[in-house]
Symmetry: C2
Subunit: 355 residues, 2 copies
Amino acid sequence: MEAVVIRRGENSPTVAELSRPDPGPGEVLVRTLRVGVDGTDREVIAGSHGGYPEGEDFLVLGHEAVGVVAEANGTAFEEGDVVVPTVRRPPAEGPNEYFERGEPDMAPPEACVERGIDGAHGFMAEYFTSPAENLVPVPEEIAEWGFLVEPISISEKAIEHAYAARSAFDWNPDAGLVLGNGSLGLLTLAMLDQRGYDRTYCLGRRDRPDPTIDVIEDLGATYVDSRETPVSEIADAHEPMDFVYEATGYARHAFECIEALAPAGVGALLGVPEPWEFEIDGGRLHKEFVMNNKALVGSVNSNVTHFEAAVRTLGDLPAWFLDDLVTAVYELDDYEAAFADDETTIKTALQFSQI
Amino acid sequence: MEAVVIRRGENSPTVAELSRPDPGPGEVLVRTLRVGVDGTDREVIAGSHGGYPEGEDFLVLGHEAVGVVAEANGTAFEEGDVVVPTVRRPPAEGPNEYFERGEPDMAPPEACVERGIDGAHGFMAEYFTSPAENLVPVPEEIAEWGFLVEPISISEKAIEHAYAARSAFDWNPDAGLVLGNGSLGLLTLAMLDQRGYDRTYCLGRRDRPDPTIDVIEDLGATYVDSRETPVSEIADAHEPMDFVYEATGYARHAFECIEALAPAGVGALLGVPEPWEFEIDGGRLHKEFVMNNKALVGSVNSNVTHFEAAVRTLGDLPAWFLDDLVTAVYELDDYEAAFADDETTIKTALQFSQI
């Protein structure tokens, strides 16, 4: 079967011919429908994030997959079921407490591998296998968008944890800000809309005309150009935000967002920047954080419960939004185009087969 | 009646002769037993925190009080009941949403006044009045320590909010670190002990022999000298901490504590520093915060539910600990001594009357 891989020492993906995997006990063979591409894939390709499976000189890419059960192999699934795989798997030495309690998303990086990212092959292949417990069913009607379940699940977790941090008192957020107008930022903006935020904002650094600004405005949100209004000035220029979701990986935002928050507000941080030293007014930020009961929550990955929530969320997203968000779906012949990133691209996917 | 006040333009408290207050409708007249002194009082005296009641040129000090109901004034209290007052009251324009839902601790600073601190007279007087709803009953057996209910309530809230931030997953903290060996730090260290932490640590910058180090070690905790082991090195030198409680007001600690936290750990920040610019490796801290699902929660003040929890906590604290923590209780004649702070002082109180 064909698979899209990155080889050690190379900086662009290629197509490799691999043997079709055989499902082991408790595993399901999945025929891949589509696999989404995101910023993490580009970091893995560039070598700035993740790593190869032990002893191998290539990594099958892809962690945002949707497929169809080809061999149920005695599990509770049936052939033809549409499924989405989770990303984290136990490390070489076997499952640990995080996996045992169904919370691999809370494992530190060294206590897991991540399929398609770090230490385990991903899903950009005609077939893949997965333990049944790591597959989440998806209604067939939304199978074509199923590759969005994984990124949505990332925000389901971040929002769940941020809201938990505000659960000790009466908190009714109505102004929300997403930092970053990439596909994850736009998905999250739509999720805030679903959750009944009165006013939403999305920060980017693009000139009009731009397809992401169109999506932001079609969602009824306000586009904030960070070149005109830095994060530290958003509270004054617009309003203080009850919830801030950081998806830029720009480290200054992790600290400046304290100033963008309303009293009792919470920021969810998801970016993974490189080391970078800079100056902050730490005294002022610390005081502001305390005197106004603010909170910050770091969030990475997601578990089965977040994938299940993401399936429900996906089913409720408006069709026009999904159409506008996914700017192209490429066949394997054209795989290189799926990894390109330009001003007209928002979200792409690679199609391996059809339902 | 006599009261301890700070006058505009002065930098040490004096005793003033004031008229005994009359309780208004719904208010109780309380005969003061004892009022604790803490770092906030010293900041108010120095003029670096808080402010005078509007139109007045003095402020009655004190926010950590315990007293006896002298006139129940038709409320549900009875004369002789031992009570502790909460600190926040509605601002001049009257109650707002935070007071209406019993959460004045979540109000931004401009939406409240604070008795003895900011904009309202405190409790360092022979009598004070308070709305009955702002008084929490205390068992007579622990009346002598009742002035510790307010500081304990501050930590009850901070711990409640920090734990809420970890409530979306299975979290079982067993290593806890308190930054600061002042009286609030030591009270919190004892509270972590009560909550079943296996290992606790307390950071200070004092040489032995020192009474706070004795209390730390008598609690079974490990003293960490910040001059030898900075916060950023504690995880390596000792162990990563599930919970960090910051009570130093040293702004670097607010950010360095990210490095002291274990995966899925949470830091509660309580210090109120002045503006101070410094350099951090914001990229590394941001990545660490996200990849290990860490959280930070700012916490200020406390509400009636936290005072009620604090009364229960106080009743369970060992007698030796309270004896060692409270290094002196002074009569009004000797009020200046209560505000002094030296290497042999941990916690002091002023005594206005006895039960």
